[in-house]
């Protein structure tokens, strides 16, 4: 499988922070679906944003940070602009925060298309409407005219996905893209992403807290804890995880028909923080 992304010893420190938020993360990505699971605050979104160099004020170092034929460490902000969105796209965790609050969502969606492809405004609008429909938004014409605060949480997530789809990138980093969707719509949206990997051969990084999703939808999974990757598994082998953090996660999951006793919680061990070479 050809490698789309090659990351080695990635380290990220936020300005003014005492510790690195990401401590030596390494992985490669082919034309596959890679899940990233991990505790809240472990650095998942930080890794995603670093790949797009969307971390003003943070120091990013890496032994290797290659995307297709490009060495990301060498790129200027101007060169990055050509990659961001068009070749590598991120669906951010807070959809409403990443939309401009005082502009209609539809105009923002059409604009993504106009930014990357030569066409008339009318054509961009049609494309945008078709894409809103593709992500199962009911009544796309109405939603097109709405402002970000007027759309529901799950509609916001699907608007972000529609924008990503319009740019037609080779690598997608999706940060909790479906957490606000009901299961039926979620499966439909995952199907769209799945088709991109299968038919268009894109690479997909899926950051998610949903263990069922990662197990059923991804090929491989990285487990992060305190800025490091503590375990890498085939998604189907998630149940056979060995790291105590991963095992603790599986045990903490509520189950349909389960006992209503308090859920098992993690006893976080200081040695999980130690840096593994």
């Amino acid at each position: 499988m050809d490698t789309l992304l090659d990351v080695s010893n990635l380290r990220i420190r936020y300005g003014g922070a005492a510790r690195e938020a990401v401590r030596g993360v390494s992985f490669t990505l082919g034309r596959e679906r890679l899940g990233i699971v991990g505790e809240s605050g472990s650095g998942k979104s930080t890794v995603g944003r670093a790949l797009l160099k969307l971390l003003p004020g943070a120091t990013i170092t890496a032994d290797r940070l290659r995307f297709e034929d490009v060495d990301l460490t060498l790129l200027s902000e101007r060169e990055m602009l050509k990659i961001r969105g068009r070749r590598m796209s991120m669906i951010l965790q807070d959809p409403k925060f990443s939309l401009n609050p005082i502009r209609r969502v539809g105009d923002q969606v059409s604009e993504t298309y106009l930014r990357h492809f030569r066409c008339s405004r009318r054509e961009a609008r049609e494309r945008a409407l078709a894409m809103l429909e593709a992500v199962k938004i009911r009544d796309p014409e109405r939603v097109y005219r709405q402002y970000p605060h007027e759309v529901s949480g799950g509609m916001g997530q699907r608007i972000m996905i529609a924008m990503m789809l319009l740019a037609d990138p080779d690598l997608v980093i999706a940060d909790e893209p479906t957490s606000a969707l009901d299961v039926t719509v979620r499966l439909q949206v995952l199907d769209i992403l799945d088709n991109l990997v299968r038919n268009r051969g894109i690479g997909l990084i899926m950051i998610s807290h949903d263990l069922n999703l990662v197990r059923n939808f991804c090929d491989r999974v990285l487990i992060m804890y305190a800025g490091q990757v503590v375990e890498t598994l085939k998604a189907g082998d998630l149940e056979r995880a060995e790291h105590p953090y991963t095992r603790g996660l599986l045990a903490a999951q509520p189950r349909i028909g389960g006992p209503r006793a308090p859920l098992s919680v993690l006893d976080r061990k200081p040695e999980w923080l130690e840096e593994n070479a």
Binding site: Y14, V37, G38, E39, S40, G41, S45, Q93, D94, K96, F97, I137, R138, R142, R145, H149, E150, V151, S152, G153, G154, M155, G156, R158, E176, S179, A180, L181, D182, V183, T184, V185, R186, L187, H209, L211, N212, R215, N216, G236, E239, Y245, G248, L249, A252, Q253, P254, R255, I256, G257, G258, R260, P262, L263, S264, V265, L266
Partner: protein, 257 residues
């Protein structure tokens, strides 16, 4: 002190003229004192809107909403804040970007003239599993799940009797989710809190709620007891489809494990 919630024929129209849309055509639900009531359903079906109406964040609705038997419109603002608090679906939007966590937690204590403020803030932040040092952080310095936990701490700090929770744990990893759900259960046992909880995770509903309503297109399709999930005893076609899809979504792992 436990309170009941009665929503009768709630409806709301957004926009005016030809663009007006009636989002909730007429929702009725009755939540018992001390109950945990789930709201599930299609994305965009009006779950968050129902919570916003109950909390009076959106106040141009029609119909009747009573909390502990009193019409919510007649409860004075200060008392309303001590009775009910809401945790929003979108924690970034609900925290002010220039306010530190300390300011966020301190403000309600000052407004309601409560004492032992430092202690209460420390307890609230520890309850949601964050270190006390986070009091001095700003929202942009927090991860998505950490922001959500601050939002939960802010709602808990006034010890309200009714909590309206809009997907309180969907941004959290399951280990932190477990801590928050255990905390909510404990508060309910100890203080009789009433919860209305929006979630897409029927395993969370099964774990937490006594009953739940399935919403579709602004209407309550069906109200079901939690026991109806495991064997899919829903009768409304959409509710059946949703419960069935959730069982399948979780099921693969049971088949393997």
């Amino acid at each position: 002190m436990s309170v009941s919630v009665d929503v009768h024929d709630l409806s709301i129209v957004f926009g005016s003229g030809p663009q007006a849309v009636r989002v909730l055509p007429g929702v009725s639900i009755a939540v018992q004192p001390g109950e945990c009531f789930g709201l599930v359903g299609e994305s965009g079906s009006g779950k968050s809107t129902v919570l916003r109406c109950i909390s009076m964040l959106t106040d141009f609705w029609q119909g009747e909403i009573r909390i502990g038997g009193r019409f919510v419109r007649e409860i004075p603002l200060g008392e309303r804040c001590r009775t009910l608090q809401m945790v929003f679906q979108d924690p970034y939007g609900s925290l002010h970007p220039r306010q530190s966590v300390r300011t966020v937690l301190h403000e309600p204590l000052a407004i309601h003239k409560l004492d032992d403020r430092e202690d209460r803030m420390r307890r609230a932040i520890t309850d949601v599993g964050l270190p006390v040092s986070f009091l001095d952080r700003f929202p942009h310095q927090l991860s998505g799940g950490q922001r959500q936990r601050i939002a939960i701490a802010r709602a808990l700090i006034l010890e309200p009797s009714l909590l309206l929770l809009d997907e309180p744990t969907s941004a959290l990893d399951v280990s932190v989710q477990a801590e928050i759900l255990n905390l909510l259960q404990r508060l309910r046992d100890e203080r009789g809190f009433t919860y209305i909880m929006v979630t897409h995770d029927l395993a969370v509903v099964d774990h937490m709620c006594d009953r739940f309503a399935v919403m579709l297109l602004g209407e309550v399709a069906e109200v079901l007891p939690r026991d109806a999930i495991a064997g899919n005893q829903a009768t409304h076609p959409y509710a059946r489809e949703l419960v069935g899809a959730s069982l399948a979504y979780e099921g693969t792992r049971r088949a393997q494990g």
